[in-house]
């Protein structure tokens, strides 16, 4: 069927990930005509959603794939704790309240869940795992949307928005080589953050941004976000901040996804280009330890770090996608990493000399620590003395950015003049900063997208009828 560009759609959705489809399905079920405009080619549709694995939800413990229960109050505590209170309390409560509806809603849309197996058991209580991962869930949502008559275009980036006084009338897209006007009664912005826009990242991080790796697709460039801000929509979230983890430096520039993650850091030492340690590798337990290293490495010269372990530890963490660099002496390892051999030997020797005896247990904050170092290792410190030695190079891997648009409990955009938009809504990463002012709680990205996607769909449907 040819795409109709002459008609006025009830709901125009920009983006094609979790948030976009939750909104589209909800509006279509309410009987509205919906068009989804996804900027990426079909394979890359659903930007970062393709790379996800689970969503966090409060539940009473009866979900068959979860070990729960996870009480809403506990969820709220967790959220307050990680964000240090940098959250809109009303929206946070709403997110958690409505997270309880997500598993049945997803099931109805054809999304299946599984119990977690190896490596992620610790999340079995709080997070529901998608069968087949994010792409599996996304395929199910697309099938559902198409069955409901939603027009889903891919390779159709929104290049301009016609907005007057906070009121949307049409979006311009580039589709099959031509620009088209897509007119609509309401608009849902679900086009993600700007993490793949290196120029934008460079504004805050300077040349260092050129060495960042982007974990998700190259298509989350924040164009829709920029257009909305230019049209007077109120921003939310720190524009300089991003969620950034240490990933294998050999990962592709874009779209390396989950498989490039490395869990080796706490088992050894981390050094920079000067072969010097720069942070306490044993400071905290997972998942925080996983999340801090991206930023720390971003502050080192050339934005690279090297995690060094010995044969005692090499089999203690999740298998890596790329093989470790291996050598029989520390000097040889330094050579292979193109680090100063004498400097690395000294760093390792100083570290080894500072290690105190203890009982190693990486599942708790154990008593293995160093003494007398300027930068201590507070837990899990064991001498690096059992060859062969191994190293992984790490770079900052950007997951998402925090800057977004301000919304209210209806998912409706708030304007700089304090008014709310007449017909514009936002959902997902593009507004996640309302709930998640800083830091991260595993699985909450999908929760925010699904909850506010559904709310946006409900409200847009209602709006379009009036």
């Amino acid at each position: 069927m040819p795409v109709r560009f002459d008609k006025i759609y009830d709901v125009v959705v920009a983006g094609g990930g979790n948030a976009a489809l939750c909104a589209a399905i909800t509006a279509a079920r309410a009987g509205r005509s919906v068009i989804v405009l996804e900027g990426a080619p079909a394979f890359y549709r659903g930007g970062n959603t393709r790379h996800t694995r689970n969503l966090r939800c409060a539940h009473d413990g009866t979900a068959p794939t979860m070990t729960g229960p996870y009480d809403p109050a506990e969820f709220l505590d967790d959220l307050y704790r990680v964000t240090g209170g940098e959250t809109d309390k009303a929206l946070a409560q709403l997110t958690i309240e409505r997270s309880q509806e997500l598993i049945p809603w997803m099931n109805k849309a054809g999304v299946l869940f599984q119990p977690p197996l190896g490596g992620t058991l610790s999340l079995g209580k709080t997070n529901a795992f998608f069968l087949g991962g994010g792409r599996g869930m996304l395929n199910a949502l697309y099938r559902q949307a198409e069955a409901l008559g939603v027009v889903c275009l891919s390779d159709a980036p929104v290049t301009a928005l016609a907005i007057e006084n906070g009121f949307f009338t049409s979006a311009t897209i580039q589709y099959e080589g031509l620009p088209h006007q897509v007119r609509g009664r309401t608009f849902v912005a679900a086009a993600g953050g700007f993490e793949a826009n290196i120029d934008w990242l460079r504004q805050h991080w300077g040349a260092a941004a050129d060495n960042f790796l982007i974990r998700g697709t190259p298509y989350n460039r924040g164009d829709v976000l920029k257009m909305l801000l230019a049209h007077g929509v109120k921003p939310v979230g720190d524009p300089t901040q991003m969620h950034c983890v240490g990933i294998d430096a050999r990962a592709p520039k874009f779209d390396g996804g989950i498989a490039t993650r490395l869990d080796s850091v706490v088992f050894g030492i981390m050094v920079n280009r000067a072969a010097q340690r720069f942070y306490d590798e044993g400071e905290e337990t997972w998942p925080k330890r996983y999340a801090i290293w991206g930023r720390l490495i971003a502050q080192q010269s050339e934005q690279i770090g090297y995690s060094i372990v010995d044969s005692k530890s090499i089999h203690m963490f999740m298998p890596s996608i790329f093989p470790a660099v291996q050598a029989s002496t520390i000097g040889e390892l330094a050579g292979k990493l193109q680090l100063d051999a004498a400097a690395l030997e000294k760093t390792v020797a100083d570290f080894n000399a500072a290690v105190r005896p203890g009982t190693f247990d990486h599942t708790v904050l154990d008593d293995c620590r160093t003494e007398g170092l300027a930068i201590p290792k507070s837990h899990w410190a064991r001498k690096i003395d059992a060859p062969p030695y191994y190293a992984y190079p790490l770079r900052p891997g950007i997951t998402f950015t925090y800057l977004g648009v301000r919304v209210n409990e209806e998912s409706r955009m708030v304007l700089n003049n304090g008014k709310t938009s007449g017909n514009m809504f936002a959902a997902g990463e593009i507004m996640a900063g309302n709930v998640l002012g800083k830091a991260y709680l595993a699985g909450i990205g999908m929760t925010i997208g699904a909850v506010f996607g559904r709310i946006a769909g409900e409200r847009a449907a209602k709006n379009a009828r009036n």
Partner: protein, 368 residues
């Protein structure tokens, strides 16, 4: 297989590359048995990969769900890589080794075997009896054309050969994959094979026709599989009737062997026909495309065995019986001859992989 200094085959190298990526990703762990088995390992020796390849049911789910499939630079395509390795493994374990090439051009091999076998029966009937016997009416009595004992000796010998060849191949396989099992594992594997648990994409259904999961492939395989078993049962019952009770064929339409044969024969018409149609619709990217002839040949043989069987039953009182008997016996003989050198082996290799999996699921731990 003893370890050799030969470089690894391309199929092994690719399977190793993919399992290393998957083991760092693990998003597909809920889809089937392959990924949990993978998670019990950190590195993948040849035997491990051959085991995983035969554990895969080629449902396709992990391709449509993979965020790293083509055009992503990781170019992950687990169903195709494992299908290729699986077909390589059939050749690797084949006994005698001289017949391993049969897997490379399997369609041709099976077609030639079938044609030669049918021709041999026609020539045989004519040479041993006389040309007239081929076209005479025998009131449904096959043994007028070919004596019962001759049939038993011929088919018995081929059957024994097939069993011996399969046993030796399976032994090489079991050693290569470090096979381990016990009673409980056998029971569990039997259940998983009987239900084809892992042809379901973990619950979403088989995605091999397109991205829409469906149960069709499993249903048609059930027709084929149980059709085959029923035909086997029909022959066994007839053998017991013959030797145990002295009741000789032809049997009445309502007798047990004929009823079992009809039910099984219907399964072998419906099942392979359905599987063939689905195979035409399947995206070739999910398959070992150059060797799809192996599937087609096996489907054709099963279908022909049944079709010629029904034709024989319908026309056994006419003058066409002699030729039809040659045709039917020729196809059946060719099927038995080619059992160890064609698609049939998949059932046995997969079954043993399921046994090993059922056992290690209880005894091994995930690597994390």
């Amino acid at each position: 297989m003893p370890a050799t200094d030969l470089p690894r085959s391309a199929a092994l190298v690719e399977a190793d590359r993919l399992m290393t990526i998957c083991n760092a990703c693990r998003y597909c762990e809920g889809l089937c048995a392959v990924f949990p088995a993978m998670e019990m390992r950190r590195t993948f020796a040849d035997g491990d990969l051959n085991y995983l390849a035969n554990l895969c049911h080629q449902c396709g789910a992990c391709y449509s769900d993979c965020q790293y499939s083509r055009p992503h630079e990781f170019n992950v395509n687990v169903p195709a890589a494992l299908a290729t390795l699986r077909n390589d493994s059939y050749a690797q374990y084949a006994w005698p080794r001289a017949l391993a090439p049969a897997f490379a051009r399997n369609g041709l091999f099976i077609a030639l075997t079938a044609a030669a076998s049918v021709a041999a029966f026609i020539v045989g009937f004519v040479a041993w009896r006389d040309p007239a016997v081929l076209f005479a009416r025998h009131a449904g009595d096959f043994y007028k054309v070919m004596p019962h004992n001759a049939m038993v000796i011929l088919f018995g010998a081929v059957f024994v050969f097939a069993i011996a060849a399969l046993t030796l191949s399976l032994r090489a396989y079991w050693r290569d994959i470090n096979g381990e099992g016990d009673g409980r594992a056998v029971v569990e594997a039997t259940g998983d094979a009987a239900r084809l648990t892992y042809l379901g994409g973990g619950g979403g259904g088989c995605t091999s026709e397109n991205e829409r999961p469906s149960a069709q492939r499993r249903v048609f395989h059930h027709f084929t599989f149980y059709g085959f078993l029923l035909c086997f049962a029909a022959t066994s019952v007839a053998t017991i009737y013959h030797y145990g009770f002295g009741w000789h064929a032809p049997y009445a339409l309502t007798s047990l062997p004929v009823l079992l044969g009809i039910a099984g024969g219907l399964g072998l018409l419906i099942g392979p026909a359905g599987l063939f149609v689905l195979a035409q619709r399947r995206d070739a990217i999910l398959t070992d495309a150059p060797r799809r002839g192996m599937d087609t040949a096996f489907l054709a043989m099963l279908f022909l065995v049944s079709l010629t069987g029904f034709a024989l039953m319908a026309l056994r009182d006419t003058g066409a019986m002699g030729l039809l008997l040659a045709l039917h016996l020729g196809v059946v003989l060719a099927l038995f001859l080619s059992l160890p050198y064609g698609k049939f082996v998949h059932g046995l290799y997969r079954y043993l992989a399921l046994v090993k999996y059922a056992r290690e699921k209880r005894t091994a731990a995930f690597v994390d």
